[in-house]
């Protein structure tokens, strides 16, 4: 008798009930809410979504996205998820910065020691540092003196202060280039486009003296003249120094300067993704293993048989 009753009750528990509610759906906390509370949740959700949409639209509306041209995405060799920077290009980019850009732009947060094992050997970096003169002191007589640079010295700035820089450049301040790829929308794509994008102003646009036309610069009128021309410098590794080659190399160099951890970061990503995908699969198996007891249990009411 008991066996028959047990079978009957069991089959009743196993059958999907006619109103379509299966047992597991009782785990949901939403079921217990009243209609009013559910409606309240919907209202709160749509308010949050609407506010996010509004914030996004307002943010877009204040961006100067009128006539300025956005830089296209270039196929940088460091674009990939695990792709390092091209260090030969960094070295050439340093040559371009030193011979062209550094006439007006400082890179005051970069020291010569940072070049070691990135683009230069230690001896080369020492030579580069020794080629500049640094004011040091005071000495025993209380006087400042000049000495050749050391590895710990930062890159020299072309102007002593911002006012001097503006005065020498028609009122325009040449920005410090250390973190420039991080500080501009479009990063190295923008820099490359800017450096190679100088054109004559289109009809109807007249520029003040000392301003130049560049469609990639917000507003179009830029205080910097075109700096890169074919064969302007000579690369020490013999690469033909076309204007676009120099722009590409200096953009890579500045990308490294802004993100010196770039290569290590991508190597870490490789390690972390490998390790964590393994750990996730282990913990998924472990969870299934631990829950298998709960998931497969059946609670049976067995009436006491006479």
């Amino acid at each position: 008798m008991a066996g028959v009753a047990g079978k009957f009750v069991k089959s009743g528990l196993l059958r999907v009930q006619s109103n379509g509610i299966i047992q597991q759906s009782h785990l949901s906390t939403l079921r217990e809410l009243s209609v009013g509370k559910k409606a309240g949740l919907v209202v709160v959700g749509s308010l949050i979504g609407g506010a996010a949409g509004l914030a996004y639209t307002l943010d877009q509306s204040v961006k100067a996205s009128g006539l300025d041209l956005h830089a296209p995405h270039f196929p940088w060799s460091h674009n990939g998820m695990f792709s390092s920077l091209d260090h030969a290009s960094i070295r050439r980019g340093y040559e371009v910065y030193k011979q062209v850009c550094s006439a007006c732009h400082s890179m005051k947060y970069l020291a010569y020691r940072n070049l070691i094992d990135v683009s230069h050997t230690e001896e080369e970096a020492k030579e580069e540092a020794a080629s500049i003169q640094v004011t040091d002191g005071p000495n025993e007589e209380g006087l400042m003196f000049q000495r050749p640079g050391k590895l710990s010295d930062r890159f020299p700035s072309p102007y002593p202060n911002e006012e001097a820089a503006r005065n020498a450049n028609n009122g325009a301040l040449p920005p410090d280039l250390t973190y420039i790829t991080a500080a501009r929308h479009g990063g190295e794509d923008y820099l490359f486009s800017l450096l190679t994008g100088y054109t004559d102003p289109p009809g109807g646009i007249t520029l003040r003296d000392g301003l130049y036309y560049n469609p990639y610069f917000p507003g179009g009128a830029i205080g910097m003249a075109q700096a890169l021309y074919n064969e302007l410098i000579e690369y020490s590794d013999g690469t033909p120094a076309t204007a676009s080659q120099m722009a590409k190399d200096v953009a890579t160099f500045l990308k490294w300067a802004a993100e010196p951890e770039h290569d290590d970061r991508k190597k870490m990503a490789l390690k972390a993704l490998m390790l964590f995908s393994f750990l996730i699969s282990v913990s998924y198996y472990w969870k299934r293993h631990k829950w298998s007891v709960l998931k497969t249990r059946k609670i049976v009411y067995k009436p006491k048989s006479e």
Partner: protein, 61 residues
């Protein structure tokens, strides 16, 4: 005695040897894993890293 049973009886059974196994296992795993990923990374980026162009500027060591 199977290999698993041998492992259990000699290593995993006592907390002292179990902890030791974890520490030495971590050491060798990390060395191996680091070397493998370093190798993979320099294969992906062959020709672009500093160690690939260093010989152009430094005398061979």
């Amino acid at each position: 005695m199977s290999l698993v049973a041998k492992l259990y009886n000699n290593v995993l059974r006592r907390s002292s040897t179990y902890a030791l196994a974890i520490v030495t296992g971590a050491f060798f795993f990390e060395r191996g894993f680091d070397m493998a990923t370093e190798h993979l990374y320099s294969e992906i980026n062959k020709g672009k890293l500093w160690k690939d162009i260093k010989h152009n500027y430094a005398p061979a060591e």
